[in-house]
Subunit: 178 residues, 2 copies
């Protein structure tokens, strides 16, 4: 509950004005309860992000590279459409520009978060599911980038129903084998 309240505070207020006291009020606990577990706002926010990220991932244990790619990106698009996470993206992006410790956390978290996607694309290129001209890291930037771009630079996030179409545009349709 405290972690959820921390994400709410970050999304609504931003990082600059983020106050442990307001998080305590949102969660209905005392400030000292929060400080007992988290030394400062960065520790609290980092823990909230990690916890929700770990709880929410899609199952990619089985399936073809294309199925896994779809599962991962649909999940990202759904999170971005509606979640306390999504409300935090602009605050995080701005704070990463102005606070070195937050920046370090943000870049590390993002790097870990996109790793499975890059791996799935690399697997698909290796087994011929995806065209050989696809550079996995750049494709991951383009696919995630499209979703984040819509969230931050257009008036509505990408509809998760369009993720299949996005993959077709970026990666190509089903493979044409010789």
């Amino acid at each position: 509950m405290i972690l959820g309240a921390a994400l709410e505070e970050l999304g609504e207020i931003g990082y600059g004005g983020f106050a442990i006291e307001s998080v305590a009020a949102r969660a209905g606990v005392g400030k000292s309860t929060i400080y007992r577990h988290w030394p400062d706002k960065l520790a609290l926010i980092a823990d909230a992000f990690r916890t929700f990220h770990e709880a929410a991932g899609p199952d990619i244990a089985r399936g073809s590279p294309r199925e896994k790619l779809l599962a991962i990106l649909r999940h990202v698009a759904e999170v971005v459409v509606s979640s306390t996470f999504s409300a935090c993206i602009p605050a995080l992006v701005d704070a990463a520009e102005r606070d070195q410790d937050l920046r370090k956390f943000h870049l590390h978290f993002q790097r870990e978060a996109r790793r499975p996607l890059i791996n799935v694309i690399a697997d698909g290129v290796a087994d011929g599911s995806f065209p050989s001209h696809v550079v996995p890291e750049l494709a991951a930037f383009a696919l995630l980038g499209a979703i984040f771009f819509c969230r931050l630079m257009t008036n509505k996030p990408l509809d998760p129903e369009r993720v299949g179409e996005l993959i077709e545009t970026v990666i190509g349709a089903s493979p044409q084998r010789a």
Copy 2:
């Protein structure tokens, strides 16, 4: 000079703390000089963005769709690597979340800015330069998205030298005609 100072202030301080008084000090003019031309900070920022955007665009009067696509995206990548504009992106994205008038300007500006890119991709699909599975708007989101994603979510912006490789990944290599 005042418009440049406004972008500097926005990039360094963000929108919340943006002060006409600081812009005046940066530009070495009086506050009243600024207020004579721009009623408020949004008008000043909007004018700065429009002015620099119009002054800086690449020449796409001639060339194939692929050449035009490369010219546009290299320009975007170069602007994002190093410019007062680039420093403003996080501030703008965050402010668009918290201020309705700034949001309206930001979304309108972005929509106009990406229009030529979408048109060039559509032309390329129409004349067979680009594969028919490419949906122009989604491809534009992916290509611009990759550039903005690197700026906001990784430790370094996309190297403009990699824009050709990005286009190859997203749009495919040179056309295979039957």
